[in-house]
Symmetry: C2
Subunit: 274 residues, 2 copies
C-alpha cells in the first residue's frame, strides 16, 4: 500500500521531472509512493485539472503530495502552485543563477527539452537505433566499420538492451556479437572482430543471475543449466583476457549504468544527450 | 565554436545531471556549450580530477564553467565545490525540504537512482525490450494479446524507435505493425488487429518530412517519391479515421514526446520510470 502520492508535472513530456524526482526519492528508504505523471500541461484547464488531482490525492492519502514540476510558463506555474503540496521546481531554483551567469534572460518557452529543436539530434538517434537493430546479435549488416563500439558477450548478458539504450539515449552506434560455441572451441575471435579490436567491449554477468534470466526464456534444457552457464561465462572471460578487451560485470547494474560505464571506459562521445 | 563548458557530475551514471542540465540550458538561446559528463565520481581522486578539469576549462574558455551535479556523498561534494564554476546541485536544493516533509533523513548513499535497487523493474524493461523486438514491424510473434499498445503507421513514421523507447524507459509492451499496400488496397485492417482495436495507436507524419527520412535510406525510386509518400499517408489516415484510431503527428516531435503522447492518450501505465 502506498502512503503518499508523488506528482511529476510538465508542460512537456515529464521525463525531466520524473528523472529528477526519482533520483531524490531513492534517497528515502521505506517510503511507498504512488507515482503520477501529468505531462503536457499547456492550457489553464489542464493546470486546474492538475490542481484538482493533487488536492484529491492529499485528501485521500491524508498526506501532502510531493510535486516535482518543470513548468516553465508563469501562468501555469502560478495555477499549479495553488495546489496543497510540497512543490519542488527546477526552474524556480536554477534558472535565476543561470540567467545571472549568462547575463541573459531565459526564454520561458515550453517544449524545448526533449523537443525537436535539434532535428539533427533526432536523426542521429534514429540512425543509431537502426544501426543497432541491423547489427544486433552478430546479425545482417556486420557494419562494424561504422560502429563506435562492438559489445561481446554470451546470450542474455545484456548486449541488446544496452546497444539500443546507447543509440536512443546518446546517438551512439553500438553493434553486438554473441559469443558462442564457435568462439569457445578455438578460444579465438573471428577476423572481422579482431580488425575492430579497439572497439570491442565485453559484458560478463554472475552465473546465478544469468541462469535466472535464461530461465525466464527457456526453463528447461542445457541453455539454462548451471554447468552450461558457468562454462560459457568462463570461456568468454578467457577471450576477454586473451585479447585484453575491457569488460563490465552487468550483474548489479541497470542498463543506464552499463551504458555509462562503457562510454566512460571507451571515451566514445555522447552525440546527443537526454 | 563553443564559448563555455558545461559539466555534468555524478557519482553514478550522470543521466539525472544531464537531463536536468539539458532542460535548463535549452532555455537560453544562442549559447554554445561544450558538454562534458564526468560519471562515477566515487573516490577522492576522481573528485580532485573533476576539479582540475573544471578549472582547466574555465581557464581555456575564459568563462566560468557551469557544473550540474548529483553527488550525494558529502566528502566528494566538498571537494568538487572547490572548483571555480557555477555549481547547481539538486541534492543541495531539494533534499532538505523532502527530509522535512517526510520527517526522515536521506540515506546519502550513492548509486540508488538508475541502480539495480529494483531488480523487477530491470527485468520488466528487458522483457519489454524483447517484446518490442519480437513484435517489431508486424514481425515474428504478433503476440498482441500481451501488448499494452500496438502502433500503426507507414514505413519510417517512427514506430520502431518509439516502441523501443517505451520499452526501455517505461517497461511498456509496445508492438508495431506497418501499414502497406495490402491495407491501402482494401482500406481494411487484418482481423488480428481489429481484435485488438482498443490498443491501436496511429503515427502520422508530414509528407515532406517523411520523404526526407526515407531518402536517407533509399534516395531513388518510388519509396521516397512525393507521390508515393502522399498516397501512403493519405490512405493510412483514412484507415485511422475509419476505425476511430487515435493518432499523433510525429513531424515536430522527439521520441520522448511521441512516447509521452501515446501514454497520455491511451492511459497505459508507466511500469517503471526513468
Amino acid at each position: 500500500m502506498y502512503e503518499r502520492t508523488v506528482f511529476f508535472l510538465s508542460d512537456q513530456t515529464g521525463v525531466t521531472a520524473e528523472t529528477l524526482g526519482h533520483s531524490l526519492l531513492t534517497q528515502f528508504d521505506g517510503q511507498n509512493f504512488r507515482q503520477v505523471t501529468l505531462p503536457f500541461i499547456d492550457t489553464e484547464d489542464k493546470a486546474h485539472e492538475a490542481v484538482r488531482k493533487i488536492n484529491k490525492a492529499g485528501t485521500t492519502d491524508k498526506k501532502r503530495p510531493v510535486v516535482f514540476s518543470t513548468l516553465v510558463q508563469n501562468e501555469f506555474r502560478t495555477i499549479v502552485r495553488g495546489a496543497n503540496g510540497l512543490h519542488l521546481d527546477i526552474f524556480d531554483e536554477f534558472l535565476e543563477p543561470l540567467e545571472e551567469e549568462f547575463q541573459q534572460k531565459a526564454t520561458y518557452e515550453s517544449g524545448r527539452a526533449h523537443g525537436m529543436s535539434d532535428i539533427n539530434a533526432y536523426m542521429k538517434r534514429i540512425e543509431a537505433t537502426n544501426f543497432a537493430l541491423a547489427n544486433d546479435d552478430g546479425g545482417i549488416s556486420r557494419n562494424y566499420d561504422m560502429a563506435d563500439v562492438v559489445l561481446l558477450g554470451v546470450s542474455r548478458s545484456g548486449k541488446t538492451p544496452t546497444c539500443l539504450y546507447l543509440a536512443l539515449q546518446y546517438g551512439v552506434y553500438a553493434a553486438n556479437f554473441p559469443l558462442t560455441e564457435e568462439e569457445f572451441e578455438t578460444g579465438e575471435l573471428p577476423g572481422f572482430l579482431i580488425q575492430q579490436k579497439q572497439k570491442l567491449f565485453g559484458l560478463t554477468i554472475a552465473p546465478d543471475r544469468l541462469r535466472q534470466i535464461r530461465k525466464e526464456r527457456r526453463s528447461l534444457g542445457k541453455y539454462s543449466s548451471a554447468q552450461q552457464v558457468r562454462y560459457e561465462l568462463r570461456e568468454s572471460e578467457k577471450i576477454f583476457k586473451r585479447y585484453a578487451i575491457p569488460s563490465v560485470d552487468t550483474t548489479e547494474f541497470s542498463i543506464e549504468e552499463i551504458a555509462s560505464r562503457i562510454l566512460d571506459s571507451t571515451g566514445v562521445e555522447r552525440r546527443v544527450r537526454p
